[in-house]
């Protein structure tokens, strides 16, 4: 409660209305043109580069287990697609790549390198801007995958549940982000582990923080991570109905509440930064939620828009928001198998 009051006060001052966020109007289009015989599946990720090219990381094709001796090997089922700024299909990147199993997120760094996060292979894969070369990997895909998965191993030593091992092995990685120095922050994430892991720009493990729980510094899930220009770390703590803010070393600073259950975050660039946060509906609920909030970094609500649904202009389990241009967003929907382009008024 103590944490909510400042945010409410700030929102009240900003909008001039008590606790009622301004509803931002928008128009939605679906400009991406798929090539013949390629279909959208669960669109987990969408991101733009500095040229306006659009990258879509989606669960499609047919995830497949190959039975081999006593072990089963999982492959395919996920695609990374590139479109030009008009929405015209350009190419598929990483076709049949070893680490592509279940698409989770795609992010573009300030040098236009393409980073994808695959939750089932537990890998963060960095491609060059053309997508033709793999530059760096974090995590390692399990050699074989048992279905169903065996119960998780108990944490070693005194580690708390969800704290993960102090290294770059992820359980179900969810997101990746960078600070101004290029340090890498991985949300690990949406499986057994619920922690944020920090790496140097060269991929050397620095530290990780967080464990499973609802106290300050703990996560129900670390579903999305973004950083502001000052290096503060914003984590969508899905399930605990809050965004937790940490300094660059993982020290807890504050929580942002009153924005539903945050699942996808996007930090705008420029001198005045905003944080977009999606209160994404669970796939089995189409009766409430779905709105996206535009937040000041203080946590006050600058506005909100949209709601759950299947029609154009409605949202079905938004898993990523791209906000390179803060008034032209792209949203990737797991529930509606599409990417929508939103022009905010």
């Amino acid at each position: 409660m103590k944490r909510i009051i400042p945010a409410l006060l700030a929102a009240t001052l900003l909008a001039g209305l008590p606790a009622a966020a301004q509803d931002l109007g928008f128009t939605a289009t679906q400009p991406l043109q798929m090539p013949k015989d390629v279909y959208f599946g669960e669109v987990a990720g969408v991101a733009t580069n500095s040229k306006g090219d659009i990258f879509v990381y989606q669960r499609s094709g047919q995830p497949t287990m190959s039975l081999g001796g006593s072990r089963s090997f999982a492959h395919s089922g996920t695609q990374l697609l590139e479109f030009d700024p008009s929405g015209k299909f350009v190419r598929e990147i990483g076709k049949d790549l070893y680490g592509f199993l279940v698409a989770q997120q795609v992010r573009i760094d300030p040098s236009d390198n393409i980073w994808v996060v695959d939750s089932y292979s537990g890998m963060i894969i960095k491609f060059d801007p053309t997508g033709s070369r793999v530059l760096m990997l974090l995590g390692r895909k399990p050699e074989s995958i048992d279905v169903p998965e065996p119960p998780p191993r108990a944490p070693r030593g005194n580690a708390l549940p969800g704290a993960g091992a102090q290294q770059d092995l992820f359980d179900a990685a969810a997101d990746v982000a960078w600070d101004a120095q290029g340090n890498i922050f991985v949300a690990d994430g949406i499986g057994v582990n619920t922690r944020i892991a920090k790496f140097t720009p060269d991929g050397v493990f620095v530290k990780s923080w967080g464990s499973k729980g609802s106290d300050q510094g703990q996560f129900s899930a670390a579903h999305s991570v973004q950083l502001d220009a000052a290096g503060n770390v914003y984590v969508a703590d899905t399930g605990n109905h809050r965004i937790q803010v940490f300094d660059n070393d993982g020290n807890f600073k504050s929580s942002i509440t009153g924005v539903g259950d945050p699942a996808a975050l996007c930090m705008t660039k420029g001198p005045h930064q905003y944080l977009f946060s999606s209160n994404s509906n669970p796939v089995d609920n189409l009766d409430s939620g779905g709105e996206i909030y535009k937040l000041e970094l203080s946590g006050s609500v600058a506005g909100k828009f949209g709601h759950v649904g299947k029609r154009p202009g409605e949202f079905g389990t938004v898993n990523q928001v791209d906000c390179r241009n803060p008034s032209t967003l792209y949203v990737a929907e797991i529930g509606n198998y599409r990417v929508q382009k939103l022009a905010l008024r």
Binding site: M34, K36, D37, V38, Y39, F40, G41, E42, Q58, R59, S60, G61, Q62, P63, A74, G77, L101, V102, S119, Y120, D146, V147, P148, E149, A172, G191, V283, D284, N285, L286, D287, G309, K310, R311, E314, G335, N336, Y337, R338
Partner: protein, 346 residues
């Protein structure tokens, strides 16, 4: 002879209005229903060279006469043929929502709806099949691992997810009805935007009115009434538009699949007394025909018979009867689809 006696006995019971205790595996209408004249159109479908159909679960036509066949290949495949039976295209190749085909239906706007009981997903494709317009349900996450039909009691049904859904239908207002399915036992109504409105049945199977044991197919008439093939209960249950019980038709056999004609002022109901999987001894004598009925349950006639070779039926799984005098059907155990021309009813 034995078989004849059995059905004659059953028919006699029916005539005496003997009540609901009949064994329903044989169609009690069989002895009394007149035979309808019909002609098979042999080798109507021209499949692409070097490619094959599998279990042909679904078949449907659009307003232009194009025919869509949804079958089980290495995963679900959806093929389009033109009205002459010439192959046009494959739709949904490598699509995420295609695992194990069950039904395809075409709505009043010629959008194509594919029901996949492996992915627990229903997909609306644009009329040319190039775009996904709507998905209903959710394919279980790969990370959840393999979940077979649950042992023991089914988990509670959820408003927006399905458990091996079987079929879909639409009323004139565009509301959506889903038969769900092999592990839920219910019919769900959604508005045209996919919002939950009502349901009948639940996760547990049952025998009473408004209960199901494997709702396997459904169709909706112009008044918005819903006709559900309640397969394991060997009956069709009829509901009003709000899914309130109206009637049961129990005299037409195994209740695998139904179809309601849409061309012309008069709507007919076709139902299939499909021969059960496996072709057990004696089953062909009791099952196999397709019945033509009035919507009120009056049986007008029957045609066809079980058989391995065309034009016999090998577990009819779905029928298209847009034109009540031209019937398309898909069969599980022959991997084929067939076209029939029927004598019109007077």
């Amino acid at each position: 002879m034995k078989h004849f006696l059995t059905s004659a006995f059953a028919a006699a019971l029916l005539l005496c209005a003997a009540g609901p205790a009949l064994s329903q595996s044989a169609a009690t209408a069989e002895a009394t229903a007149p035979n309808l004249n019909y002609q098979a159109v042999p080798n109507f479908f021209k499949t692409p060279a070097g490619d094959y159909m599998g279990e042909t679960q679904g078949i449907a036509t659009n307003s232009k006469g194009d025919i869509f066949v949804f079958f089980r290949g290495n995963h679900s495949r959806l093929w389009e043929f033109d009205k002459t039976g010439k192959f046009v295209r494959e739709i949904g190749k490598n699509y995420y929502g295609f695992l194990f085909a069950h039904s395809v239906r075409v709505d009043a706007h010629d959008n194509i709806w594919a029901v996949d009981e492996g992915a627990n997903l229903i997909t609306e494709f644009s009329p040319d099949g190039s775009k996904i317009l709507t998905v209903l349900g959710h394919r279980p996450a790969v990370t959840d691992g393999a979940v077979a039909t649950p042992h023991g009691p089914n988990p509670p049904d959820q408003n927006y997810t399905f458990c091996r859904p079987t079929d879909i239908g639409f009323d004139p207002q565009g509301n959506i009805f889903v038969a769900d399915g092999y592990c839920n036992n219910r019919v769900v109504k959604y508005d045209s935007a996919g919002h939950f409105l009502a349901k009948v049945g639940g996760s547990a199977p049952g025998k009473g009115n408004e209960e199901f044991n494997l709702p396997h197919a459904l169709q909706v008439d112009r008044q918005g009434n819903v006709y559900v093939a309640d397969r394991t209960n060997n009956r069709y249950q009829v509901f009003d538009n709000n899914l309130k019980y109206k009637a049961s038709y129990t005299n037409v056999g195994t209740a695998w699949s139904d179809c309601i004609s849409t061309e012309g002022d008069h709507q007919y109901l076709f139902v299939s007394n499909s021969n059960p999987n496996g072709n057990g001894p004696g089953t062909w004598a009791k099952t196999g025909q397709i019945y033509k009925m009035e919507l009120d349950g009056t049986v007008l006639g029957k045609f066809g018979h079980a058989g391995k070779l065309a034009p016999g039926f090998q577990v009819v799984h779905m029928m298209d009867c847009r034109n009540p005098n031209v019937l398309f059907e898909g069969e599980i155990e022959s991997w084929r689809v067939q076209k029939f021309v029927l004598q019109p009813s007077k």
